[in-house]
Amino acid sequence: MSLFTQKMKMLTAIVLDGYSDKVVKALLEEGVMDFVHISQLDGEQAGRLSSHKSAIPQGTISDLRTRCENLMKLGGLNIPAISKSDLENLGGLDEQSVRKALDSLSLSLTSPREEQKNLSQRILAYDELLGYIRDKKEEYLDLRTGSISPDRKLSDLTARLSDTCSVIAQDGKGGLVFLALKRDASRVNEALDKFGWTENPAPVKNAMEIAGASADEKRQELQKRLDDVVAGIRQTIGASADELSRMWMTLRVGELSEHVESYFSYTKNTTLFSGWVPSSKAAEVESVIYEAARGKCIIEWTEDTELDRSQIPTSVHSAKVLAPFERMVTNYGTPEYGSINPTPFVTVAYIIMFALMFADVGQGLVLLLIGLTGSWYYKKHPLAKDGLISRYLCSLLKFLGPASIVGGALFGSYFGFSWLPAIWFNYHAVVNGNAEGGLVSSVYDILGITIKFGIAVIYTGLVLNWINLVRKRRYLELVFDKNGLVGGLLYALGIYACYYFVDSGYRAFPSSPLLYAGIGFCLLLLIVKGPVYAAHKAKLSGHRESVGTIIADTVMDFFVQVLEIFSSFLSNTLSFMRVAGLGIAHVSLMTAFEDMAEMTGNIFAFILIMILGNVLVIAIEGLSAGIQSLRLNYYEFFTKYFTGRGIAYEPVGLKSRIVID
């Protein structure tokens, strides 16, 4: 894991035409290059080069790949992963033969699909009949017992009535039981008359049961045939699994190659391409290209210092275990190139915040168990769709569960009970006003702790920002920005003044001349900021602003900055009181459930209420603490040092999820 974003290098290569296909495959296999159009680097030179012309349009390949995937979905087949040996063994892409194979497979499914439809429609008819029997809706049913003329065949009658919802069964005494729907009476009567139907004078007992059993049997028979057809369809596709898989790989590699080659430029005999690669992979990529081109290539590296850093893609390398927190970072934005990797910091901050808001050993254990069970389930069922408790949530809970356990041990909370003494202070006792002595004895003390925690988080953010600014060589911002040194100093002075005011019982502000000198110095810096920036801008662009404009800008900027520094630092700090708020709410809810449980005076009711209370608190408070931690990180912590203005590093490779239009 790196503390900063990964150092990148730009590769520019010239390869003899005959080797370009091999180079493309090698680069796809390596999957670390984020390609750049040559025209982006040198528009004038690029004009002299010719661009890539596709043998098969990329859109056509994508359409065929989608078709291939659709057929695989219909057969319940998984999309294959492409290995190195697959890549070596794959042949060229023949559009016509792929299309023919897909058409032929698709055509072979037409007739079974038709049969499947017919069977499922016949099942629907029996379902309706069985539904009315089950619900005793006899007013819709036409039940008869009797027999047909001896010279007519029963199978012919059945065939004749096939388009109605009906069933004919033997009554066990040589007669027949006939069941249909009254709405079909005209058609049924006509058919029965033709077959010489004679009503049985004595009603057959259990005629409905006999008809129902027969309908059920027929339905099951149809269902079995339907299942066989469905299995047959899967089998048909399954028999072509290898072919489909190979076709898909050829199409995917073709699609990716087309995508990569769309960045290529050509001279008469050579291919030129360029792209960003992490420094750590530079040697590997170089040797791969040399090997694929059999040394017939020229490779040139450009250091990041030689190019505008705002154009360099950012690659963040964090430990795999921190993936859930890395996702929080990427959801917010991409760090600027060369800046601090926010993942480890957000990990620590998020975990501590959650532990302070949701501190309970028992409930933490439940979260951990949910996380572990969910991860185990998804590992066992890799194709399972994400449920309410998604893969991401499971991996996050594996951190939040232990955090909550540690928090619970510190504050002595076990499923809302104080079964063991608290390591730090008893949160329940403090919130409920039963705390005896100790450094933390009231909710104000808890609020104080969270504010101190907030100050620590905000200062960490400021320090990280100063490091970023030094690395970016933005020294003016480092000194004058609201999140720079002047902002940090004003914030420190503000904190000192506020603590003094609170310690004096809200009666007096500090009288130290050093404080006022410090504030004066900071305000002076903020006034000087305007002219300094104007001089710097003039130096860079050669354009001088008029004195009047500089004065007007300086005055406006000064007031805005002062207001912004005071209001934003104050609100950012007070925002951390929510950590205490949620922690107090957590304790209060558990206390309320405990009181309710005790009021019942029944041990079973007590246990039931406490279980219910814990479940509710885990679901509601857990969600709430998770959201508030995220909010504090995004608004109070990230805004201090993380601009999110970076360009994401998107290498193209066999495993990349790149979507190709």
Binding site: D63, N70, K73, D103, E114, S120, T164, R183
Partner: protein, 363 residues
Amino acid sequence: MDRVSRYSYINAKLRARIGLMAGSSLLEDMIKAPNLSEAIAVLSGTKYDSLFETYSRTADLQQVELELFIREIRLHEEIIKALDDRTARFVKTLLEKTEIENIKNAVRLWYSASVLHHSISYRSAYIYKDRIVHDIDWSRIINALGWDDVRTAFRNTPYLTVFDRYDAQDITRLGLFEFEIDLDHLWFDRLYGAMDLLDGADREVALKVYGLDVDLKNIINLIRYGFYHSCDSSRLAHVFIHYGSLYGVLEKRLASGNFSIEEARDLIRRRYARVGELLGQMEVRGQLSTGHSELAYGTLAIENYLAQQRRKEFTGILCADPFTIGTILSYIYLCRSEDNTIKGILAAKYYNWSEEQIRRELN
């Protein structure tokens, strides 16, 4: 309850969902698929996954369509749950339109079995049989032995008034056309009644949306029944929906007994210039003359214009005041429109339409 409290939760939720709606690439992939099976496979792994599962299980497109119908009901129900009584009542009235479509389908099945003596066999399974808005005994309709039996299924519903207007002989003699028109009119009466109960800003948005809808429906009715089928003025007056800005003038002209195509075009052009233009083009091509086979394409152009206008209207609503019923109406419209497009593509694939033909129809 103020507007912000009423709409902040539901509208934020719906706006987020609008952002997540299926992209055009999904529909594009469906259009490009060479047959129905492959078109449905495109839906696998998307929010329409249940349609793929239904088709894989049954290979029956009508069951897939029923699934889409159920989605539409659930969509309304979910919104209704998040609203206060008054606004929920309006959305319930919107859901009654869906219920009316189900009634029409059920009554058509009954008509097929009982009047035409056709076997409806398994087809009753395609009728949604649970409660939508009112307690209707759907099985009773399908299995009714006579019109009075059908009526009984609507005993405690507002639809009974329409059923009361017809007896068994009327239905056998006239068919279901006028009965269905009456059901539609009843819905518009109820819709405008529900609109009157809305707050000022909500009523304004709803009137604007449905006013346009009614006007363009009346124009299409005029073309279809007035010019193409040459219905007499009393029958035509029965077809018109009694709301919107055009109805009053149209009715007056019809009553005068002499209403030409030119007059109609000028009248419509004053309010809807583009529709007037399209009508002019249809007239030049002779598509408005009785029985002309190309009429469908002409009216399709007007229907497409209607769809464009609606889309424009709803896009405008989404950019305007976020605390009105507009977001809900837009969301319902967008979902319906997406579902209908999917339904249209699947039906087209079932009938082996070409890509070009599908694109022309979808426009």
